[in-house]
């Protein structure tokens, strides 16, 4: 009976340690995921807070050459931006990347603070008032109303 009781206690001990370690392992995985999410979330949020863009065109005269309209967007924030994932919406319609040509004026490859991005958009616009929205990769946008003759 004594040896049987010891064996039972030993089995209970090993089983409880294994279960405890499994529970701790699962908790650790969740904490790791949570830590990664917190880091990524705070990085995104801080980048968004430091991002600002301004469309600096003259709303009266938008350069237009054979259906290619030119818009100038200035990085007025504190965050350097990429130009690859800029979204341009004119009158509620997204202009596809094939119809956009983006160049950083007087700058290099990165859209730094103070740099002006020239966006050539190939689009057909009727005479009248229009609305432009430029959205950065991290979701910060500027809206600009302009007229075409």
């Amino acid at each position: 009976m004594g040896a049987g009781a010891s064996a039972t206690q030993m089995v209970f001990f090993i089983a409880s340690v294994i279960i405890a370690l499994s529970v701790v392992g699962a908790m650790f995985m969740n904490v790791q995921s949570l830590s990664s999410a917190v880091i990524i979330g705070s990085k995104t949020l801080s980048e968004q807070l430091k991002t600002d863009i301004t469309v600096i065109n003259d709303p009266e005269i938008i350069p237009n050459s054979s259906g290619i309209y030119t818009f100038y967007v200035k990085n007025t924030g504190m965050q350097e931006l990429g130009t690859e994932y800029i979204t341009v919406i004119i009158d509620g319609t997204i202009i596809s990347d094939n119809n956009l040509n983006k160049t950083i004026l007087e700058g290099g490859q990165t859209w730094l603070t103070g740099d002006v991005l020239k966006i050539n958009a190939t689009i057909s616009l009727a005479a009248g008032n229009h609305n432009l929205r430029v959205i950065t990769a991290n979701g910060i946008e500027d809206t600009f109303s302009f007229g075409t003759p």
């Binding site: 206690q9 949020l45 600096i56 003259d58 005269i61 200035k74």
Partner: protein, 131 residues
Amino acid sequence: MGFSTSAVVVIFTASIIYMASMFYPLVDMSHKQVKEAEKNSNELWKEKLNTKIAISNRDVTELIIFNNGSTTLDSRKINIIIDGEFKSSSSYIVSPRGVWSPKTSINVDIVAAGGRVKIITANGAADYSIP
């Protein structure tokens, strides 16, 4: 049975302390990062709200631009759009260059006479001039 309970309590306690010691510094660092960004954002908006420029005089190609706000600007960082076209910094002359204090003015020579002129500061504040 009592020994098993003790072992489980030790495993849980040690693990929780270890996880907390790993998680807390990351959360603290992230919190500080967001707070710093919020501070930068507030400074950015404060500067923007306190920036105002006015083109006070225009004589063919010479423009006098007055810093009407309470933010110190940098005259080297202005942009100029003439008749809708962005002009490179080499196509106009700004004087004095550099610090542009509140309640002072700068001169801009756009070299070639143009129509509508838009002057834009580094933080996006702008004013227009028509001949």
